[in-house]
């Protein structure tokens, strides 16, 4: 490493038509906490790329969600996200201002961009983190409370970013550090970190960065976008989810789940088995290979709980599971377990829900 001074925590502020991605808002929330734990005097910053108008809007959003300073690369060539354009833009900002940490949402865009940047700058990068710590004590407390790790065997400091991520579909967690290169970089799973309340009155500094992007830099041409059908409410943002699995028995089971979802203001989703059986569209799949969700209430009907599925729902606030088999894995993580026939229980929930809700 060179003698350069690296400071500050940056969040790559992903924007779509000028709207800050929820994953970036969440990272700014997490960054607000982490930046206080960093060594020395550090500022929470955002870095945003886009055309003039989109980047200005997203920068304002980033400030409203906690950024104190925003590095803005505004260029008409950045109107569409492209790997080439955005890599050059963010690399220019990083090499000019030398942040200590750069975080990206582990969205499709973040997971396309961050590795390209890491390879260009020769940096370490940890993918899809679900936990970040700087202080050793915080990490030790986490390890003792939630894991089978004995942290006393580790040589931990209060300086490096400890980046914890699931692997093997969540069967195993790993913690990584990047001791040799700066900035330290990670992508972070959407839905895991908490954003702050949006404060439109918050103020922050804007720093314009010129990356000298030309049309020739961009080798992939975006021809168009098609919004997927049957995907009205983004599962990732749903507050209440009613999901069905193999235990539904056939495709018509989803009609009953839709009635429950309509009653309680939720959306219908699925585990992998109904897709394999051809009962429902693949876009509604929850799990490691589908959508990772973080609803307030997750109701699993006839889902046994494969590792892949559980990895997608583990951040739900409350999990209710209905299954005829008392030994299914989903009961190990569900908050409320009903051993019974979903076709007997769900109609009762629909009929009596209104009597119980707090007005």
């Amino acid at each position: 490493m060179t003698d350069k001074t690296y400071r500050d925590l940056w969040v790559f502020a992903e924007q779509n038509d000028g709207v800050l991605a929820p994953a970036s808002a969440q990272l700014l929330g997490e960054g607000t906490r982490l930046v206080k734990d960093m060594d020395g005097d550090n500022t929470l910053c955002a870095v945003v790329a886009g055309n003039e108008e989109d980047s200005r809007q997203a920068a304002a959003d980033a400030i409203a969600y906690g950024a104190k300073k925003v590095y803005v690369i505004a260029d008409e060539n950045l109107t569409n996200y492209t790997t080439d354009g955005y890599t050059k833009a963010v690399c220019a900002a990083i090499t000019e201002y030398n942040p200590d940490i750069v975080l990206y949402g582990a969205t499709p865009q973040g997971r396309d961009l961050a590795p390209r940047i890491a390879a260009r700058l020769g940096l370490g990068l940890t993918a899809d983190c679900t936990r970040l710590d700087i202080k050793a004590d915080d990490y030790i407390a986490y390890a003792q409370a939630e894991t089978m790790l004995d942290p006393s065997t580790l040589d931990l400091d209060d300086v490096l970013l400890k980046q914890t991520k699931p692997s093997f579909g969540g069967k195993l967690m790993a913690t990584m550090v990047c001791p040799k290169t700066k900035p330290q970089m990670a992508t972070v799973r959407p839905g895991v970190m908490d954003s702050l309340q949006k404060d439109p009155a918050a103020t922050g500094e804007i720093v314009a960065v010129n990356a000298g992007i030309t049309a020739e830099d961009i080798r992939v041409t975006v021809k168009g976008k098609t919004v997927d059908a049957a995907d009205g409410v983004a599962l990732a943002d749903a507050e209440i989810i009613v999901a069905g699995g193999r235990g539904l028995g056939d495709a018509s089971g989803f009609e009953l789940l839709q009635k429950l979802a309509d009653k309680i203001g939720g959306v219908v989703a699925t585990s992998g088995a109904p897709i394999d059986a051809g009962w429902i569209d693949e876009s509604l799949m929850i799990g490691q290979t589908g959508t990772i969700v973080r609803p307030r209430i997750y109701i699993a009907c006839g889902i046994s709980g494969s590792i892949q599925h559980l990895a997608g729902i583990e951040n739900s606030e409350t999990i209710i599971a209905i299954n005829t088999d008392k030994d299914v894995p989903i009961f190990e993580i569900a908050d409320y377990c009903i051993v019974g026939d979903l076709y007997e229980v769900v109609p009762e929930l629909i009929e009596h829900w209104d009597e119980y809700i707090t007005k």
Binding site: T226, D231, Y336, I338, E344, W353
Partner: protein, 268 residues
């Protein structure tokens, strides 16, 4: 000149069979068969589809791993790939994604120096063991070619100079166009991988094994020593405590008890 395609493949433990040792918290790999990583099977299939339609397409499958990772090369050739390269060296253990992409780049460039320019590189989007999805983009950067990730459909022009790809993103698809050479990462929507072909199985297989010396790499630049990212610990989470079983003799009773409990906890 042949249209040369590289397919990057990884052997991973069959993730449905992987178990955690409850005492040590480490992965029990013993007795767990290694399989071709799922997304990599889609990457290979797309290369084979090009070969089905066009003459003079040559597919080389590259894998980095222990000696038994050769199995994925057998499988790929049995499906129709022309050649396999195994990059195997004890010094490569604990390589992170940055080093892995450097090693792959070096091997691909060595192959190209001997055999001709590369026109396309396919890789799976991510491997089911590390779940990083980083090697594809990092390799594209190291090769200085454009990348298209999350490919759910792929079409190549008749002159094989332009590729049109649909990328499956969250809630929408993006259509992009790019000239070859480029690197494409495959997801499972891209195609349905074929089965191996008997006559390929019994034909002689062209498989080459390279170590880091063959690649001109220094032991200090690979493995743990060369990797910017270091794993400091790996561990399973504590088993979930499990929740409360909702009592009730009938569905109606269970539903009522559940709703009462949810209301009591102010969940609804």
């Amino acid at each position: 000149m042949a249209f040369n395609i590289i397919v990057c493949a990884k052997q991973v433990p069959d993730s449905d069979l992987v178990r955690i040792d409850p005492k040590t918290g480490s992965i029990i790999r013993k007795g767990v068969p290694g399989v071709l990583n799922a997304d990599d099977a889609n990457a290979l299939e797309e290369a084979l589809k090009i070969k089905d339609k066009h003459d003079d397409v040559y597919i080389t499958v590259v894998t980095m791993g222990p000696p038994q990772a050769e199995e994925v090369l057998f499988e790929a050739i049995a499906k129709g790939a022309d050649e396999g390269i195994l990059i195997n060296d004890i010094a490569l253990a604990s390589s992170d994604t940055f080093v892995t992409s450097t090693v792959l780049k070096t091997a691909i460039e060595k192959w190209a120096a001997d055999n001709g320019e590369i026109s396309l590189v396919f890789a799976g989007r991510e491997a089911t063991d590390g779940d990083t999805a980083q090697v594809g983009p990092q390799l594209a950067e190291r090769l200085d070619i454009p990348q298209v990730t999350y490919a759910s459909s792929f079409e190549i022009s008749e002159d094989m100079k332009t590729v049109t790809i649909s990328r499956k993103l969250e809630g929408y698809h993006e259509e992009v166009e790019v000239n070859t050479p480029c690197l494409v990462t495959a997801i499972k929507d891209l195609n349905q991988p074929r089965y191996p072909h008997m006559h390929n199985v019994f034909a002689p297989m062209k498989i080459t094994s390279w170590n880091i010396e063959d690649l001109g790499l220094d032991a200090d630049s690979v493995g743990l020593a060369g990797s910017p990212s270091v794993v400091i610990s790996s561990f399973p989470l504590k088993k979930g405590k499990g929740g409360m079983f909702v009592e009730g003799e009938s569905g109606a009773e269970q539903a009522a008890n559940l709703l009462a409990a949810l209301k009591d906890k102010r969940i609804i």
